[in-house]
């Protein structure tokens, strides 16, 4: 392939975008809109996933100590706990702290505890977080076997409930993403196919004049790529602006919500969107043109 010809291809792409400007605008618009939708849900699903992770990571094991255990022994137990597989962090909670928290939880009904006078029946305990929810059960069993530990509780039913939810959230998110990816692919390649279809006569004429398939195909593929590029840049820009605006709103009003921080998330999304746009555009063109080359 001569430099001359490559130069010709490139010039060809831009001339064609300009002369078929009506169709170019239509397909850039469609690419932009469908990638925007795709990107929006990619962001949503990723945030949902983050939320699920966050919820899971909050699962903790409470390790209650026997009354007779003193601070010295407690430190030893802490060391042992840290050596158990999957344990991420270990925090000590004195019986007084436990009582405070209990009172907070009771709220209205804390007057009930007045009946206890000054005695505190709660034990000292450790709060242990575990890296992987699957390890919770075995870890808790190991903990109960340690000297000085009365019991290790981890809210079995709540946790299972939670896992069920996050699992569904993940399956749903993944299905959604798959469906949307196909839909986007379908819509973009369909649009490009229609623009190629509108130019099928031109393609035939080129062949009759002696052009090889690749000579005809290259400018089309590059044009598809450029259409995809322009469309996806528009989509990416809108997505970035929208996410930033939304993030601000969420920080203001729902500070506890674990939103994925803008950077490097947005960069990542931009790359995904722009690359999908270009690839789908190029492949869409290449595939659509095929049937019209058979003359």
């Amino acid at each position: 392939m001569k430099v001359r010809t490559i130069e010709y291809y490139i010039r060809e792409v831009f001339i064609s975008l300009r002369r078929n400007n009506w169709m170019s605008v239509a397909s850039i618009g469609t690419v932009a809109v469908s990638l925007f939708i795709f990107g929006m849900f990619l962001m949503m699903v990723m945030n949902m996933n983050k939320l699920a992770e966050n919820m899971e990571s909050q699962v903790q094991i409470n390790v209650y100590l026997l009354d007779k255990v003193d601070r010295e022994q407690a430190r030893d137990i802490e060391k042992d706990l840290k050596e158990i597989e999957g344990v991420e962090s270990v925090g000590f909670v004195t019986k007084d702290e436990a009582m405070e928290r209990f009172k907070d939880r009771l709220g209205d009904q804390k007057t009930l505890l007045d009946a206890l006078d000054e005695t505190n029946p709660l034990p000292d305990s450790f709060e242990v977080t575990v890296t992987n929810p699957d390890l919770v059960k075995t870890a808790a069993e190991k903990m109960e076997k340690l000297d000085g530990v009365e019991c290790a509780k981890y809210g079995q039913d709540v946790m299972e409930h939670l896992f069920e939810i996050t699992r569904l959230l993940r399956i749903f998110g993944f299905t959604l993403m798959l469906v949307l990816a196909f839909a986007t692919l379908f819509i973009i390649s369909n649009t490009i196919r229609l623009t190629v279809f509108a130019r099928r006569k031109e393609i035939a004429i080129m062949k009759y004049v002696g052009a090889t398939d690749w000579f005809i195909r290259w400018p089309f593929v590059m044009e598809g790529m450029v259409l995809g590029l322009f469309g996806s840049i528009i989509a990416a820009m809108v997505l970035r602006t929208a996410y930033t605006a939304m993030a601000e709103k969420v920080y203001d009003t729902l500070a506890f919500f674990p939103l994925i921080p803008e950077q490097p998330f947005l960069t990542y999304i931009t790359i995904v969107v722009v690359i999908s746009g270009m690839v789908v555009g190029a492949i869409g063109s290449a595939v659509s043109i095929k049937k019209f080359l058979k003359v």
Binding site: K2, M206, K207, Y208, A211
Partner: protein
Amino acid sequence: MGLKLMIHMKNVTKVYENGAVALNNINVDIRKGEFVFLVGSSGAGKSTFIKMLFREVLPTSGILTVNGRDVIRMANKEVPYLRRSLGVIFQDYRLLPEKTVYENISFAMQVIEAPRRLMQRSVNSVLDIVGLRDKYKCFPHQLSGGEQQRVAIARAIVNNPSIVIADEPTGNLDPETSWGIMDIFQRINAAGTTIVMATHDKTIVDAMQRRVIAIEDGQIVRDEAQGGYGYES
């Protein structure tokens, strides 16, 4: 007639998908340097004959070689190279609607990756020949019927093909312009180019006294070395 055989048809038959028999058992040999008129009434099969030469239409049966290539058994990727050795003027022009006159003609040269310098020179020279130098920037829809036809002629001859295949190249031209085109054809024919031209123009055929192949209802009814259009009207 020891000259190279440019077109060889043996027992060629073409039946279209809808059952129309366009050509029926055609046998023709055309040698290098010949100037052949293809005549016959409307629907006789002239365009089908011509379309087979550059493989727009594939014969249903028979043997067809063009410029030494077996058109029927040719691999798909060889087709462009067959077409490049031919200069075709289509009955319906087939100009690229989104390209200017200059681009339409230079496209035929882009395809063979001709150097830019040569391309500019050649395109300008054929534009002069067909008298459209000042229309080079126009798009096909901005041209008159005859002007479009002349662009098609210019595109066909710009690469100095070894065979020029012309389907009704003067159908939309006035007699004077038509004779201009015929002069060009005679010049390039004298330089060794084979010419096959389907035409309805009795005046031209009668005046030129070249080989005439007359087709009627898909069959060759006459093949004279120095003939006229035939039948008085």
